[in-house]
Structure formats: structure tokens, C-alpha cells
């Protein structure tokens, strides 16, 4: 190898060496190494030289060469420069307060909304994760398939738990539970109505980690008539007294002994309960066909605890075998999927028959929210980038001066990255303030639980700060690269111009922001529309002006007649009747046998028990036959009405007169009612029967004449109630509210989407405002010259705003198909859904265009109306 050949040591090696070696030594050592490399290359060849070069890079690592705190001679000047960067950053912020505000506040809004979404998602994901055995706890569910019909149920028959207990190896514990209906609890003279509770056995407290602050978890739920309550209930019932061993009068029937008080639950859970009663307190309600040995009554929750490391598929098969062996209808294919406790809350959205007081989340909502959070952050980040770049043109002189003073590209890049990260961190502080201000309001409005104490926030801070720094860094890359490339002389002469190409990065970013904004507005319109559609869908019954009163069975049987007469005496009240259920999702359920069918061949029907006036009061439409009538004395005992779905389900060609055994009685179908939605509109209408009360219904329906003053009517009702029934709470609600409650999740989603969509629009408009003012200011002179040459104001207005309006148009064209695709998919999840129409797309377009014009007009008008002399004078 000859000397002079262009052979050089590997650049990466040099970089590696520089990365660890102190600056004051690096040069001389590298020089030595390079000299040696050359000599060696000549003597022994390049490969050998390279090899030795790289070896020596590593051999040089020692305390003399490594960078450290104890500087050998001089202090590094990077701290000094850093201080300078800080100073300049704050001077610049002060110099341009409007843009600093837009920049910081915009990002802060974005960050705050992400924090809110983060906590919501965290809350949902954390559901039931606190149970220490959560990975081994499973819920037994059921899927019943026959022909085209498929019924999913989260609840199982009461006989299942005793049958699998001890018979399947690998199952350690089995617990079953049932929700408690709304009951009246009395202590002394005080009565309370509580509906959030369960019947559960003592194994329950072993499987789940609901700890007791008082009482023994082993025995608390062992004996009949025991009740364990939470602290709030204890205080409500007993004040400050020790509740242990005290008695609570249950439904005026029997006394329950308080055997335990819960600690506050360590996290949220899919059970919603204030109290648990021992399972053997449960009495099958009067008139139910089934008892606790039934295999057809899917009204109980069954949870199992598996031994570690068992095959769940085998257990599932074993349970299924037992189920099939006992379940009567062989024509139905039954499977019993096991749902792990950890997946239960978010993964069971498709299941029906949840029963009361079971909360099920929706991963789709979480997904939508995460996407929204990312989009909002993206918009805020783009603003940040665009504005920094735009401002930078004003800072060309500073950059030029820095370069003249010896700053290299890398240093300038470093400066702008530092600046960007500092701004992002400032935004984060503002975001914390915004979060603190808004969290109360938002958690109330949207029913989103948010941490309200600083200590709850603390563990999440490192993550937020890391994300903030990352955003600052990413947003700073483009401005820093762009700015550091200025030529010093041109920069000092202020000849630097932003790129003039038609598709500059700035424009692409702005267009993307608009695409996101339009999409979010469009999507929120569609979501709100769909929710409205569901809540206001013609449900097949009249729900306006209907009041619903909850009455205990005792009071109902004792006072029904008197109450009804009293209420009807008021002229505003047209109808009063009673019913077992009132369209809020629940219904009774039981098997029905057509006349002559074998024991195995039953059909599962939901049912309502209603009084005579029910159809008239709620406006149910008869398709065939008639509703119950006092003229037919047999109706009470044997009358039965089916809905359309039930007729189709049982395959009846001549439904009227059909004899059916149902609820332990031989009944005759006297009428067919049009289908009405008694459950959420997510699901189609299930087969249902209506019968006259065989038990005692606990609900009174009161129809008020439309146009009457509701509050006065309610006052009169309460007065009547208090004179007739002295010792029970007056519990009245609007049926409308009940129905809306079924759509809580959706209403929450539509609220969130609307809020964040508006936020995205605000951010995009803020960014636009900043951008417009810069681009217009850059063209001040051009406008001045045009004016001197006689351009009209209207021409100038068009000239200045054309580009931005085109941008909005293009953004819309791109956004529409995106919105169309994503929302159609979302709508698939609803049985009753709206069709997409032009309004969903045109309206957002008009809104955005309008906002753009308003934003533009301020700056553009100012520029177009400016006196050209002022603009051109300083040339």
C-alpha cells in the first residue's frame, strides 16, 4: 500500500471515540491513532491497521479520557450556552406574546385532553385488576344456538354451581350470586330504598379481594339473613354507631343481621354493589316457575377459581358436559365459554343477559378515545412546528449573528431543540393547570372518573413528562434543521424566505390538521346523530309524560287500589296501572311449552306482568286480537299476549287461541302486540309474552296529560302517597330518564367525541391564525406595491386568502372518504342505525370554511387596508 492513498480509519470509530473522550484530549489522541494507522497501513495493510485502530479505541477507555464531572482543566461551556438558550427563549416569548400564547396554550390544551383520556382509559383498563387471583378467576357464560337464533348470556342457571362444585378437578372454588332487586331497608323509623346489591355466598369473599374492615370474611355470608354493607351504607343506616350485629328490616318481612362492613375497594370492579346478602337469604320470588335446581333459569352468576396451571379448555369442556347432561332441550347447542376476570369488563361487550348491577365496558370506546387523543396531540404538535418555523424567519438575524460568532450547525440545532423542549415543558405546566381546573367539571359532565388529588397524579408524572419531552423533541426537529441551514450573510441581510414551493411542509401540515379537524367534526356529528336516533327511536310505545313509581310488594298489595283511585282523582292524570318491568332493559324470563310439546321442547320467553290499562297507557299497538280486558274474567288466570318476535320464534301460524303452558299455568294467546323495544337498541327485540300479574308487580305507571305542570302533579302525588303509605320512601321517576340511562355509555361517548372535536377545531384554528398572520406579514410589501399600482381591496382579499381556502377544500375532499369508512364500521355495531347523509359532510365543511374565513379576515383586512406608504417607506 503506498503512502498517499486515500485510506482512512473508519469514521464510525472516530465518532465512537469522540463520544466518550473528553474534548481536550480527543484531538491529540486521535491524531496519534491516525498517524499510527497510516504507518501501519503502509507496513502491514489496511485491514490490519483498521483492526488495531478499532482495538485501540476501546483500549483508550480509562479515567483519564472519559468525560466526567471533575473536569481536567476547563469547565465545559455547554452550561453557559444552555443558560443563554434559556434566556433567548424567554426573550423571544416575551417579544411575541400572541404566538407564544398560541404555541404554549395550544399544546397545553392538547396535553390536558390527552391526560383526561389517559386517566379514563387507565380507569377502564384497570377494572378488576386488583383482585390477587384475577388470573385464575373465570366467569362461566353461556351461548345457546339453534338454527339461526343465537342467544348469549352472562348468567347461568342456579343449578350449575352446585353441580360443578367438587366434581371437576382443577376447580378450587365455585361461587354463585344473584342481583338483589330494589328493596326497602328499614332501621327504626327510617326506611331506605336500595337497589345496588347481590346475594352471594361466603366463597365470594374468598375468590374476590373485597376486604372487610369489620367482620370475619369466612363466616360473614354463611348464615341466612346476614348482610355485609359498605361504609357509606353503614353511615346512612346507623350514623356513627358500630353497625356490627345490628338488624336491618328487609322489605318489612324479616330482619337481616349486619355481619360485616367492607373496606373501600382498592380499584373499580364490574360489580356495582353497596351490600351483599348471604345467598341462602335469597327466596325465589312468588310466581317464578323455577327454583334453585332449575337448569332453564339463566339468572345467576357463576364464578370459578381454577388451580394454578390448569388447562382452561379442558375445564370448559367438563363444565359444558355437565351442562349438556342436565339441560333439557337437546335441539339447542350449548357452549359455556369461560371468561377470565381480567378480560371480563372490556371483553364481554357482545354478551346479553347481564342482569342488574353488572357493569360492562366497551373497548371500542377506548379505542376511539385513544385515536382522538393521538389526533388532538398531532394537531397541537403541528401547530407548534408550523409556528416555530414561521417565527424563525423573524429570527434570521439572530441565527446569522450566532453563526458569525462561530456557532456551527449542530449548535444551532441544539439551541432550537432545547427551546422546543423548554416550550413543551412550559406547556405541560399549563396543561396541569388546565387539568386541575377542568377535571371536576369533566368528571361530572362525562361521568369519567379522574384523579382529583395531587398524590393520585404523582405516579403518572414521569410518563407525562417523558411524553412531553418527546413531543418537544419531535416538534423541534424540523424548525431546527430548517433554521440551522441559513446562510449567515443572507440571514443578516434578512433575505431568508420560507420555502415558496407549492407543497411546502408547512402547507402539508396545515392540510393534515384540517383533515383531522373535518374528520372529527364529521364523526362527532354522526355519533351524536346516532345516539339521538337511538334515544329517540320510535320504540313502539309512548314514553313521554309517563311517571314510574317503585313500590314494595307489601305496599303494592296493600295499597294499590287506594293509590290508584286517589291518583286518578287528579284531572291531570289519565291512567294508572302496574307492571313488573318498564322498558328499562329488564324483563322476567321463563320457558314456555306449546300445547302437546314434550318436556324437552320448551321456548325461552321474556315476560312482563301488567295490569289491564298497560297497553293503553303506554300506547302499545295490537297487531291481532285484543289486550287484557275486565270483560273477560279468564284473562287474569289464563290470558297471554305475545309479541311479533315470539310468534315468529315459536313458528305459530294461528297465534290467537294457541294454548301454551307458561309460568306454571295453561294459558291461551288472546292477542299479538307489535314489537316494541324493551331493551337497548344495540340488540334486536327478543321474543316476549305479556301476562296479567301472578306475582305482585313492584312498579306503578302513571300517565300524565300532556301540557300539565309536571312538578305540581308530582307534589300532589307525593302528598297522596304520604297520607296513604306512611313508612316507605316516595320513589318516582320519569320513564324517559330510565330509557336514557340505557344509553349512558353512548351518551358519554358522544359527549367526549364532541368535546374533543371542538378542541381539535379550536387548535387548528389557532394554528391557522398564527400561520396566516405570518404569511400575510411576509407579503406586506407585495400588497403595498400592488396597491400603489391600483389593485382593489377585494382583489387583495382574494389574493391573500385564496391559498388557505384551497387548503380547506382539499382537506375536506380527503377527509370525507376517511370519515365515511370509519363511521360506517362503527355504525355496524348498532341494530337500529342511521344512514349517512350529505349533511354529515357538508355541515362540517361549511363550519370549517366559515371559521377559516373569520380567522383570515382579521389579518387579511388589516393588511389589505393598510396604507402602502407605511409599508414601503422603510425601504
Amino acid at each position: 500500500m503506498k503512502k498517499g492513498n486515500k485510506i482512512s480509519p473508519p469514521a464510525w470509530g472516530i465518532a465512537l471515540f469522540k463520544s466518550y473522550c473528553r474534548n481536550e484530549l480527543a484531538d491529540s489522541i486521535l491524531g496519534d491513532m491516525q498517524e499510527r494507522f497510516h504507518k501501519e497501513a503502509i507496513k502491514r495493510g489496511a485491514t490490519r491497521a483498521k483492526f488495531n485502530f478499532i482495538l485501540s479505541i476501546f483500549s483508550f477507555i480509562n479515567r483519564h479520557t472519559l468525560r466526567g464531572r471533575s473536569g481536567r482543566k476547563t469547565k465545559s461551556n455547554s452550561t453557559a450556552m444552555f443558560r443563554n438558550y434559556l434566556l433567548i427563549t424567554f426573550r423571544n416569548l416575551k417579544k411575541r406574546p400572541v404566538f407564544s400564547f398560541i404555541n404554549i396554550f395550544g399544546l397545553a390544551l392538547g396535553l390536558a385532553s390527552c391526560m383526561i383520556i389517559y386517566f379514563y382509559v387507565q380507569h377502564e383498563l384497570g377494572t378488576d385488576q386488583f383482585h390477587s387471583k384475577a388470573d385464575r378467576v373465570y366467569k362461566v357464560s353461556g351461548i345457546f344456538e339453534s338454527g339461526n337464533s343465537r342467544r348469549t348470556t352472562m348468567r347461568t342457571p342456579p343449578a350449575l354451581a352446585p353441580h360443578i362444585k367438587g366434581r371437576i378437578s382443577g376447580i378450587e372454588r365455585v361461587t354463585r350470586m344473584r342481583y338483589a332487586d330494589e328493596h326497602i331497608f328499614g332501621v327504626g323509623d327510617h326506611v331506605f330504598s336500595m337497589d345496588q346489591g347481590f346475594y352471594a355466598d361466603s366463597v365470594f369473599l374468598d375468590v374476590f379481594d373485597f376486604e372487610l374492615q369489620m367482620g370475619n370474611p369466612q363466616t360473614a355470608l354463611r348464615d341466612p339473613n346476614s348482610i355485609v354493607i359498605n361504609e357509606a351504607t353503614a353511615i346512612m343506616l346507623f350514623g356513627n354507631e358500630n353497625p356490627m350485629g345490628k338488624f336491618i328490616r328487609f322489605n318489612n318481612e324479616k330482619d337481616l343481621e349486619v355481619t360485616g362492613v367492607f373496606k373501600e375497594f382498592p380499584g373499580n370492579t364490574h360489580f356495582k354493589f353497596d351490600y351483599l346478602m348471604s345467598f341462602n337469604t335469597f327466596v325465589v320470588p312468588e310466581g317464578y316457575l323455577a327454583d334453585l335446581t332449575s337448569w332453564g333459569w339463566t339468572g345467576f352468576h357463576t364464578y370459578i377459581l381454577l388451580s394454578p396451571n390448569v388447562n382452561t379448555a379442558e375445564i370448559e369442556a367438563d363444565i359444558n358436559d355437565i351442562f349438556k347432561a342436565n339441560y333439557a332441550r337437546s335441539s339447542v347447542k350449548v357452549t359455556n365459554p369461560l371468561i377470565n376476570l381480567r378480560d371480563l369488563y372490556l371483553g364481554s361487550g357482545d354478551y346479553g343477559n347481564l342482569g342488574h348491577n353488572i357493569l360492562i365496558g366497551d373497548w371500542k370506546t377506548l379505542y376511539v378515545l385513544c385515536v382522538i387523543a393521538a389526533l388532538v396531540l398531532l394537531i397541537a404538535g403541528f401547530n407548534f412546528m408550523n409556528l416555530s418555523t414561521a417565527i424563525s424567519i423573524k429570527r434570521a438575524k439572530e441565527i446569522g449573528m450566532r453563526k458569525v460568532m462561530g456557532a456551527v450547525k449542530g449548535k444551532i440545532r441544539q439551541q432550537f431543540l432545547t427551546e422546543s423542549i423548554i416550550l413543551a415543558l412550559t406547556s405541560f405546566l399549563c396543561a396541569m393547570a388546565i387539568f386541575a381546573l377542568l377535571s371536576g367539571f369533566i368528571s361530572n359532565q362525562l361521568q369519567v372518573p379522574l384523579p382529583d388529588q395531587a398524590t393520585d397524579l404523582l405516579p403518572h408524572l414521569p410518563l407525562f413528562i417523558a411524553i412531553t419531552i418527546l413531543i418537544g423533541f419531535l416538534a423541534g426537529i424540523y424548525p431546527s434543521v430548517f433554521l440551522s441551514s441559513f446562510k449567515p450573510i443572507a440571514a443578516l441581510k434578512m433575505k431568508v424566505q420560507g420555502s415558496n414551493s407549492r407543497f411546502s411542509l408547512k402547507q402539508i401540515l396545515t392540510a393534515t390538521q384540517f383533515i383531522i379537524s373535518v374528520s372529527l367534526i364529521s364523526a362527532s356529528f354522526i355519533v351524536v346523530d346516532q345516539i339521538d336516533h337511538m334515544v329517540n327511536h320510535p320504540l313502539g310505545f309512548e314514553r313521554n309524560n309517563v311517571l314510574k313509581m317503585n313500590i314494595s310488594q307489601n305496599d303494592m298489595s296493600e295499597h294499590y287500589r287506594v293509590l290508584k283511585d286517589r291518583f286518578l282523582a287528579h284531572t291531570e292524570i289519565t291512567h294508572v296501572t302496574r307492571a313488573s318491568h318498564t322498558f328499562e332493559g329488564g324483563a322476567g324470563g321463563g320457558p314456555a311449552w306449546l300445547q302437546g310439546a314434550s318436556q324437552d321442547d320448551s321456548h325461552q320467553l321474556s315476560y312482563y306482568q301488567t295490569g289491564y290499562d298497560f297497553a293503553e297507557l303506554t300506547g302499545l299497538q295490537m297487531q291481532e286480537g285484543r289486550y287484557f280486558s275486565k270483560d273477560f274474567s279468564n284473562d287474569w288466570e289464563e290470558g297471554m299476549i305475545l309479541n311479533e318476535s315470539a310468534v315468529a320464534y315459536m313458528g305459530l301460524e294461528q297465534p290467537i287461541g294457541q294454548r301454551i303452558r307458561f309460568n306454571d299455568r295453561d294459558r291461551v294467546v288472546i292477542g299479538v302486540v307489535n314489537d316494541f323495544n324493551y331493551r337497548s337498541l344495540h340488540t334486536p327485540i327478543a321474543p316476549m309474552a305479556i301476562v296479567m300479574p301472578f306475582g305482585t308487580p313492584e312498579r306503578l305507571l302513571i300517565k300524565v296529560q300532556s301540557g300539565s305542570a309536571i312538578s305540581e302533579v308530582i307534589a300532589k302525588l307525593e302528598q297522596d302517597w304520604n297520607t296513604i303509605v306512611q313508612d316507605a320512601p316516595f320513589d318516582l321517576a320519569f320513564m324517559e330518564d330510565d330509557i336514557q340511562r340505557m344509553y349512558e355509555k353512548e351518551t358519554q361517548l358522544s359527549g367526549l367525541v364532541s368535546v374533543f372535536a371542538s378542541l381539535a377545531v379550536i387548535l387548528a384554528i389557532l394554528g391557522l391564525y398564527g400561520l396566516v398572520s405570518f404569511s400575510v406579514q411576509a407579503r406586506l410589501k407585495e400588497v403595498g406595491i400592488r396597491k400603489v399600482h391600483g389593485a382593489s381591496t377585494s382583489f387583495l382579499l382574494v389574493l391573500l386568502s385564496k391559498r388557505f381556502l384551497i387548503l380547506v377544500l382539499v382537506a375536506n375532499l380527503i377527509a370525507w372518504p376517511l370519515v365515511f369508512l370509519s363511521t360506517s364500521q362503527w355504525l355496524e355495531g348498532f341494530h337500529y342505525r342511521i344512514g349517512l347523509n350529505l349533511n354529515h359532510f357538508l355541515l362540517p365543511f361549511l363550519i370549517l370554511t366559515g371559521l377559516t374565513i373569520i380567522t383570515l379576515s382579521h389579518q387579511v383586512l388589516k393588511t389589505a387596508l393598510a396604507n402602502p406608504v407605511d409599508v414601503l417607506r422603510n425601504e
Binding site: S28, G31, E35, S59, F60
Partner: protein
Amino acid sequence: MRSTIGEFEEIVLLVVAAQHDQAYGLSVTEAIEEQLKRTVKLSSVHTSLYRLEEKGLVQSHIGDTSTERGGRKKRHFIITPAGKEALIKAQEDRDQLWKQVPKTVIDLGKA
């Protein structure tokens, strides 16, 4: 200040003194390799030089460069008075010990 120096340090210091104004990392390394036929790592010599500098036995300053070095400057080392003292002391110590070695054991003249 520690006045004692190790064997390798002594050699490095000697070479620095020998090359007078022209000593730098690589030149010292090459001198040791060529004259003493010892393989020695560039990094060991550098480390040794820095340690000597810490002890105040040598002083360094930035010097000239060459094309082979890719324009990087040399760090020249010169011996300080303390360094000279240390070398002299080391030599005297040795001489004293040598004198005590009987001619019958090692005869320098015949070796």
C-alpha cells in the same frame, strides 16, 4: 506529590527526556517499540503520560500537526524539573544497589 515512579513510567519519562521537545504519545510508543523491542499499546503510553503529568513530572502543550494526522494537533510533553529529579533519584538508587552486587555474581564488564 508522589516521587516514586514505576518501571514503565520511568521508561516513558526517559524517552520524553531523550526526545526533548519533540516527544508525543506516538513518538514515545515507537521509541519503546523500536529500541527496547517491547510491544506496547498506544493507550498505555498515553495513560502513563497523563499519570506523569498528574504527578507533575511532565508538562504538556498543544503543538504542530501533519497531514498523516488528518490535521489533528500533537500534544507535546516535556520533562519538568521535578521529573528530572525523579529520574536522577531513580538512577542513583539503582547505582547504589548495583555497587552492592558482588562481581562474582554479576560482572558487568563480562556480561
